[in-house]
């Protein structure tokens, strides 16, 4: 057994987290920043943070991930990191020539109390920021929230760049939240099909699923142009996908630039996608074309065709709040039973939403925010499931308990596909169902006695 010291009996833990279902803020900020065109993320802290975040994102995407660091030494930790950051800004613009530097803090610089805006002012005064280039910063203390919080904070910092010219540009801002490059692509495709002009930020499509051409672009072609982000203050409204990932930025645009917003669930599964598409057409008064209805109908068709195979199958799922809320709704809607649901990200609101979604279902639900995978594993030992859905760390539980794992979430370190094929939207729903069906049917093929072995499903 890989996790042989995990007891079935559950004891309360107040201080010790084991096998986390979250990581810290800065990596979220780094991922978000990569969704700005020509942006170099910068980690203001010890160089280890930056190394770790780059490594994790690189393993998840199998793509180069450039980011700089202030390389704090003991001295900097005592006297503050201003000198390091100023030097870094100068070196970065000189050597790498990005359009944008997106700085996020760390537990170290936050504990010291470095003041980013003040340091940026100094950098600008000292002409370390070339004409027309942008520096933005987000406070991302590692000891608050989770990687999701860091993502949200950086996206909020982007919204902070928005300006209001007074003249609406007829576009809708879409804040997609922490989804894959393929998902961002799919969201853009859906919006285009519905005939809605959008500004989406961040946008990692084309940044973290790039081609191999023999040429290395430190700043790939993808990402949201900084001008578009600044112009988001002139949008007719903002659709924020995911309360945890995107709401703060949307609300800032509202208070700062009077751009009204609406916070929707991430478009995973049938209903959430329905609400997203319906919101799109209502916002712009467009008509949803038949192609969209056809894609939707294919998903519904697949659900009806294969319903018998996932009906009342039990699922354990872990990941981030916005994703889990939408996916749990999807699983419930197709008569699956998500019985164990864990996010490492804190927030009682999460448990409330899950309780609402699973209310009246014919099964008991264990749900925990600020939980960990050690607890999830214990729940599974006490009430086994048919499928486990989550990131690659789930494979240790999957092997020990002989449960198939559907890889979904962050990070996925041991499989490919997530960067190329969306799980948002109707097509994404079909892909998720294909995967879930696949592992369930694989088990039938493996476990059925010979006389029950089936050719046709």
């Amino acid at each position: 057994m890989l996790l042989k010291h995990t007891p079935e009996e559950i004891t309360e833990r107040k201080a010790l987290m084991i096998n986390p279902a979250k990581t810290c803020q800065p990596i979220g900020a780094m991922y978000a920043a990569l969704g700005i065109k020509g942006c170099l993320p910068h980690s203001h802290g010890s160089q280890g943070c930056c190394a770790y975040h780059r490594s994790t994102l690189t393993r998840h995407y199998k793509e180069p991930v450039s980011a700089a660091t202030s390389s704090f030494t003991e001295g900097a930790s005592v006297f503050g990191g201003q000198a390091n950051l100023l030097q870094a800004i100068n070196n970065i613009f000189t050597v790498y020539e990005p359009e944008v530097i997106a700085v996020h803090t760390t537990c170290l610089s936050e504990t010291i109390g470095d003041d980013l805006p003040q340091i940026f002012d100094k950098a600008i005064k000292e002409k370390k920021v070339p004409e027309g280039k942008t520096v933005l910063g987000a406070p991302t203390p590692s000891y608050v929230g989770s990687h999701v919080t860091g993502f949200s904070n950086m996206v909020k910092a982007m919204a902070g760049l928005a300006v209001k010219s007074g003249k609406k540009n007829g576009k809708v801002n879409i804040i997609p939240g922490w989804v894959e490059p393929s998902d961002m692509e799919e969201i853009k495709r859906l919006a285009a099909m519905v005939g809605v002009k959008i500004t989406m930020f961040p946008d990692t499509a084309g940044v973290l699923n790039g081609p191999l051409t023999g040429e290395y672009k430190m700043f790939p072609d993808g990402g949201t142009p900084i001008e578009d982000i600044k112009a988001s203050g002139d949008a007719i409204g903002t659709l924020a996908l995911g309360e945890w990932c995107s709401a703060d930025a949307a609300r800032l645009l509202d208070t700062k630039c009077k751009v009204p917003c609406s916070v929707l669930d991430m478009p995973f599964g049938l209903q959430a996608t329905d609400r997203f598409v319906d919101a799109l057409r209502k916002v712009c008064g467009t008509t949803v074309p038949d192609e969209v209805a056809a894609e939707r109908g294919q998903l519904v068709d697949l659900i009806s065709d294969m319903h018998q195979y996932f009906y009342h199958k039990k699922v354990a799922i872990f990941g981030d709040p916005d994703q889990l809320i939408a996916m749990t709704e999807f699983l419930v809607s197709i008569d699956m039973c998500p019985v164990h649901i864990v996010t490492g990200t804190p927030g009682k609101k999460f448990e409330t939403r899950i309780r609402e979604i699973t209310a009246g279902m014919p099964f008991e639900v264990n749900v925990k925010a600020a939980g960990d995978m050690f607890l999830l594993h214990q729940w599974i030992k006490n009430d086994p499931v048919d499928v486990l859905i989550g990131n690659s760390y789930g494979k240790y539980i999957a092997r020990d308990e002989d449960i198939p794992l559907v890889r979904w979430g962050f990070p996925i370190l041991d499989r490919q596909g997530h960067q190329y094929f969306p799980t948002v939207g109707y097509k994404g729903g079909i892909r998720m169902l294909e995967k879930i069906l696949g592992v369930l049917l694989d088990r039938l093929d493996r476990d059925n006695p010979e006389e029950k072995f089936e050719l046709v499903y």
Binding site: R13, R59, T73, A88
Partner: protein
């Protein structure tokens, strides 16, 4: 791409110039001292600047002290509960992301490698201090797992807010009685690289574990293997070979290690140092405190492995052992030679660059040499001058501010346990017979003239080097892998070995030959251009059937 025009059209000085030209003057001056064009002089070695601060904003390969301490040194030990005191990230990122393998399956073997434990510090802990939470977490870990030892690791904020993790560790150790609790002040901002973390870790291991075992080891030829981390199973292969030779490996620092191995390390009769950088000082301390001599060995490369085995045998000087070693080498080499013979036609003349760690950038040149490949540029991520120039420079290394705050522990002979393994006469005899104790010449003398030696290579310089020198293979870590491959140059990770290994010992050599053959001869790199990109012109009329 590139592959077309193989020859290097640039003189070394041109290249160095191009590496530096874009830097701000201050940066250029500093980097100039860390980029060395090898002169391959007879008996003096050119000086290089190493183990100095990374320049803020310059995208480095380096990690932090915590990574070196928790990730590298303590990570591989299976039966010690590693508890990270800090925000969740540091613990999360060090969770199963190195490929240090562990043979601790089975009911009775404790194995905490697959667990990630943290105090998950919250802002309240930062404001009011985290000692209480740390104590509670240690208690919860003890209650759940009853381990023989719990190791505490400090992350950046801990030092700043002044949590006394050592006091908490002492307190809990006393409270438990049957569980050794100790702590590491390995805050990420300390030192200039992982190297500082290795030092902090090794000092604590030496202080809290070594010599703590009661059980006596009675085997005949007992060694310690220092600086071997069992990445991809290297240690498994080395242990297989040692066992076959009849040599007992008391303790590996720290691949596939256990608490008891560390505790018994003082009972070995010889310390063999693999990774000079991460651990040579432990070898010294073992000699000073327990009288165990040490030698530098290298199990990367079949020839190097044979040489190292012979050196160990020579140390014990016992004909029986010497014969067994020769027998083993004779048994193992044919398979190696066959594999080498197979790949040589496809690998000879190819060039490689290696930028990793403390000693690998040096060791792996052995393997490339065996394959007829030349290493045209190399350097360390966190090496010191002695790793480049050899141990003779150690006395005159200047200790800067960053090194100064890494604790140096003073050791002296142990009242009971000190026992010289050889008499001064025996040592004398061996040395005059050409046997070298605690000797390491560094990477520079082993590299050819006009090769490039670059310390703390960064992303910008890496890309430039590849552009200008067009190697057939580039070796570094995961962060570097894909930017290099985007250029159409295959890239081999020599930290994690991608998913390969073992590459040590005899079996490892065969694995490595095959892997490099796969990489430098893969057709994938010929697919980068589409036909319409290779011949964009449109013939007037399409040729139908």
């Amino acid at each position: 791409m590139g592959k077309a025009q193989k020859l290097v059209q640039w003189s070394p000085t041109d290249i160095k110039e191009k590496l530096l030209e874009k830097y701000p003057p201050k940066v250029a001056r500093k980097r100039a001292k860390q980029i060395l064009i090898n002169e391959a002089l007879e008996n003096s070695t050119p000086e290089i600047t190493a183990n100095v601060r990374t320049i803020p904003g310059i995208i480095t390969m380096r990690g932090c002290t915590y990574a070196g301490c928790k990730g590298v040194i303590m990570g591989p030990t299976s039966d010690i509960v590693n508890l990270v005191h800090g925000p969740i990230g540091c613990s999360f990122y060090a969770w199963l992301t190195r490929r240090n393998q562990t043979s601790a399956s089975g009911e009775k073997n404790e194995n905490f490698i697959n667990y990630c434990m943290s105090t998950d510090m919250q802002d309240s802990d930062i404001i009011f201090g985290g000692e209480k939470k740390l104590a509670a977490a240690i208690q919860e870990a003890y209650d759940l797992f009853h381990p023989k030892a719990i190791a505490i690791f400090a992350t950046c904020p801990v030092g700043l807010i002044g949590d006394d993790i050592h006091a908490v560790a002492r307190k809990m150790k006393e409270k438990f009685g049957d569980c050794n609790v100790f702590a590491f002040s390995c805050e990420g901002y300390k030192g200039v690289s992982q190297s500082a973390g290795h030092h902090i870790a090794n000092n604590q291991v030496f202080t809290h574990l070594v010599g703590k075992s009661e059980t006596e080891k009675t085997d005949k030829y007992k060694i310690n293997l220092l600086g071997e981390y069992n990445i991809g199973g290297d240690g498994f292969e080395i242990d297989r070979v040692l066992k076959k030779c009849g040599i007992t490996n008391i303790a590996t620092f720290s691949g596939n290690s256990t608490y008891d191995q560390f505790a018994s390390a003082n009972q070995a009769d010889l310390s063999c140092v693999m990774c000079h950088r991460s651990i040579n000082y432990v070898a010294d301390m073992l000699e000073t405190k327990y009288g165990i001599p040490w030698i530098k060995i290298n199990f990367i490369g079949a020839e190097a492995t044979a040489k190292s085995l012979r050196k160990i045998a020579a140390y014990f000087g016992d004909q029986e052992l010497i014969d067994t070693v020769e027998k083993v080498i004779a048994e193992e080499m044919p398979a190696v030679e066959a594999a080498c013979k197979d790949v040589l036609p496809r690998t000879t003349g190819k060039t490689a660059m290696i930028f990793v760690g403390g000693s690998r950038a040096h060791h792996y040149q052995e393997l490339f040499n065996e394959m007829g490949m030349k290493t045209i540029s190399a350097g360390y991520e966190f090496g010191h001058r002695d790793d480049y120039e050899g141990r003779h420079v150690i006395p005159n290394l200047k200790v800067d501010a960053d090194s100064r705050n890494i604790e140096e522990i003073e050791v002296e002979p142990h009242p009971e346990l000190y026992k010289p393994r050889k008499t001064p006469e025996e040592i004398q005899a061996l040395e005059s017979a050409g046997f070298e104790f605690k000797d390491y010449g560094g990477i520079i003398p082993d590299m050819e003239k006009d090769t490039f030696i670059v310390d703390d290579l960064n992303q910008y310089e890496a890309e430039k080097l590849v552009e200008l020198m067009k190697p057939d293979l580039f070796c570094a870590g995961i962060k570097e892998k894909f930017s290099i491959q985007k250029l159409g140059i295959p890239m081999k990770q020599l930290h994690s070995y991608d998913s390969g290994g073992p590459y040590a010992g005899f079996v490892g050599a065969v694995n490595f030959y095959k892997e490099i053959d796969r990489l430098v001869n893969s057709r994938v790199w010929s697919y980068m251009k589409a036909p319409w990109q290779e011949n964009p012109e449109l013939s007037a009329t399409y040729v139908w059937e």
